[in-house]
Symmetry: C2
Subunit: 134 residues, 2 copies
DNA sequence: TTAATTCCTATTAATTAAATAGAAATTATT
DNA sequence: AATAATTTCTATTTAATTAATAGGAATTAA
């Protein structure tokens, strides 16, 4: 049970964007340099972030990305759901038919509760909270 | 962030063993049949479980495995640590030198706290608890 | 017109997890 | 002593997923 690079890098990138956004958009080139992440890799992440409505691109020279909402309105839960993509800790949480035995499976309940704990925690932390801590 | 098959199958197998253990040991063949898991796959899991002191093998005909302790003394946390193997949600929790920036990384604290939540929860659930629920 | 950027589509590389294979060792039972 | 049911060991293979890269097209400020 590891967090994916997508989610971890994505979170750091959004945090970086939130910190450096001012009058002008922030380019991936800048984020890449500051965070030590390949620009190409960031491109794939920001594609997802944009289609999820978390950032908005400005193309052309002096372009880059802007957050579409305030840092306090972006939870890590949202980033997790958008970037990590994998959903619950086991597939049968979302779709019980995957496992025979689902009806009587006591472990399924445990994995589900554990997932709820994680999601609840991530929901309680916003990008603004990370800014405050840094 | 998914749980591995090793951990999930292993948990079900240990639960099955706890439920069916009586005077005679339980063979992997039986567990495999009841749980719908390949016997060969169980072999690899029980090798790990035995070397971690959770089960003990009895070889030969009518052989199989026994738990070495009571179901209430086997926590899912222990099974997770033994079977899942992957440790914390990010490597830098255990070894900060993996990431440069560790010292000032606010996300690291978040991933660590999230891991602690998971582990704490798993620690609160024993095999006996699962038996009670089933 | 140029250069800086995002955008799009695809491919490749790397890593990890999952599952299987086969023969050796052990031992209860007959 | 022979047999059959088991675990044990070592290795391999397969599958799945993630991570990372590549190159050129589109956009647009300067
Ligand atoms: S029902 Fe899916 S793990 Fe038990
Ligand atoms: S220090 Fe490892 S993710 Fe930030």
């Amino acid at each position: 049970m590891k967090l994916t690079t997508r989610f971890r890098y994505g979170t750091r990138a959004v945090l970086d964007l939130a910190i450096h956004a001012a009058e002008r958009p922030v380019s991936l080139k800048d984020i890449a340099q500051r965070q030590g992440i390949s620009r190409k890799y960031l491109e794939t992440l920001f594609s997802t972030l944009q289609s999820s409505g978390i950032v908005r691109a400005v193309r052309g020279p002096r372009g880059g990305y802007r957050l579409t909402r305030k840092p306090e309105d972006i939870s890590l839960r949202r980033l997790y759901e958008v970037l990590e993509g994998s959903g619950p800790l086991v597939d049968c949480t979302a779709d019980p038919d995957i496992c025979l035995r689902s009806a009587s499976c006591v472990t399924q309940q445990v994995w589900e509760e554990m997932y709820n704990l994680c999601i609840g925690y991530l929901d309680s932390i916003s990008i603004q909270e990370l800014i405050n801590r840094s």
